[in-house]
Point group: C2
Chain length 328, copies 2
Amino acid sequence: MKSTINAKDVAKLAGVSQSSVSRVYFEGAKVSEKTRRKVLAAAEELGYRPNEFARSLITNRTKIIGLVMKGVQNPFYPQVLTQFTAAFKKYGYSVLFVHTNNDEIETEDVETLLNYNVAGVVITDATMSLNVAESFRAHHIPLVFFNRKLSSSDFYSVCCNNLNAGRAIAEYLLMQGSANMAYISGNENTSTSLEREKGFSEVLALHNLEYKKHASDYTYGGGYATALDIIEAGELPSAFFVANDIMALGVLDALQKKGVAVPEQVKVIGFDNIEMASWPGYELTTWEQPIEKMVKETVKYLLSEMAGYTGSAQSVEVEGTLIKRKTT
Amino acid sequence: MKSTINAKDVAKLAGVSQSSVSRVYFEGAKVSEKTRRKVLAAAEELGYRPNEFARSLITNRTKIIGLVMKGVQNPFYPQVLTQFTAAFKKYGYSVLFVHTNNDEIETEDVETLLNYNVAGVVITDATMSLNVAESFRAHHIPLVFFNRKLSSSDFYSVCCNNLNAGRAIAEYLLMQGSANMAYISGNENTSTSLEREKGFSEVLALHNLEYKKHASDYTYGGGYATALDIIEAGELPSAFFVANDIMALGVLDALQKKGVAVPEQVKVIGFDNIEMASWPGYELTTWEQPIEKMVKETVKYLLSEMAGYTGSAQSVEVEGTLIKRKTT
DNA sequence: CTGAAAGCGCTTACAG
DNA sequence: CTGAAAGCGCTTACAG
């Protein structure tokens, strides 16, 4: 009992060679219209579907993209996941989803990606040790760090222009009349948190202003607890720049709980423009990350590298936009 | 230039046959400790990794699970995704993520799953036409509907016991003194929305109580708009049973906007117990879905079917728990 | 326990 | 444009 239909079966029914069947399903191969029709008819009748594994075994390539994600709890990332899945699907690629618990991707997950010989890898909110990244390079597997930059400039990354964003936010808050500001950071050493702060502090320095930095962790609970600490310590600034939206929501809830009026007593500005930022209960002013453009840039690079590997590196930065709502 | 190391290379270095190399990496095959050591040493030196595609081509099975998801915007599902990924990883399985836009899974996505000959499929919040489901059965690919039930009892499904949950919620609200209740449904024809309502209405009927049903769509915006309509129509009940949490948050925001006091004027109860339900700004009373148990049940079934296909069907229902907070 | 050999279902030079 | 044949890197009876 043979359960799967193969090219040979189709060939027999269509009255052509197995090679011809193969050619019909292989993009770029030449077949006459006549054989193509015969093959497709036979295939339809038998319910034939080319075996991806045999194909991958020979071509040594797959239509699978590895997508590595950590903070699935931050609503920003499900959005990213959806958009990537849709974008890759358009080109016939499927997504192997890898969830990592660490800031740095685990070797077990790297093994998985290499085992499945993925055509490309997107790492959305984690980093990777340089020698692991090199091993992808050795296999000619293109790699993009999405929303993260490595210290090494040897790898491709796609981010929002966090530096400019930080600057624009500082300028905006200055214009609004704030002088005594505070920055609530995300996880330490993430390039996003660092660069947002850098742009922010740069502009404040130009105006000879200092600001207070509070370390947090990119989660709602972190934002909430950090804000509570600040209020209880009596260190309330006139404006908070919070490194992402989900923390900013925590900050808003803490302020509300303590009866601090926003924006009258304190202004709050977030980062990402997640859907919840626009909810009537929050109406958070924030910086919109252009996810769609970022995804497009990532896919474009991956596609070109998959067509012909160069290993070229670049740090692409897409400009975002300030979204003014009711917390400033 | 040969880029990949294969079993033959390892065999040569280790001084054994290629079959022996294969046996070292094939679970259940017998090899002496001596050859195993020689092979592993050689493999280590060369950086050998068995080719998954060659393996799949022969065994006709993979270590890939197809996970189909629709409502990634509902925070319930990223949680589900994370837990499945972690659970499958424990057994060496990876997740092929498929995002569908339709309530019913698209044929294109089905093709993908069949092409990659996935070892099993989990469909989390979508349905599938019966003949498509049958085609998985024909390929002996086990299938679980997670959080959805098909009308046909021929397929395995794992849900929270929605009927009991609906009943318990009605009883709880009755005990709280509500008599004039309303149900805000999720997308029509989803088994979850239907069963939650069924249990709810059953209990109310026992008390000769009627309730008003408002159709909505399982989204925040839907909950918000529906509640606004109800308020503006002057049809405010004394308690809302909202079919999921994300809608319930929309309902709460609408009530707040209109100055309706919760729970004094209206009680609100949701479903899922997503993380946000516990946020200080909401403190939503809700029904906790035991995701962990549900995932465990799903994985258990899939694992056993992958070990030996039976095609057995069952509708597993796991009991949830009422989580009392401040909206009731 | 081990090796030689067949074969999984394809792609791809090579002739014609 | 088409067919016969080699080969991708494995698993798996079959002997020994």
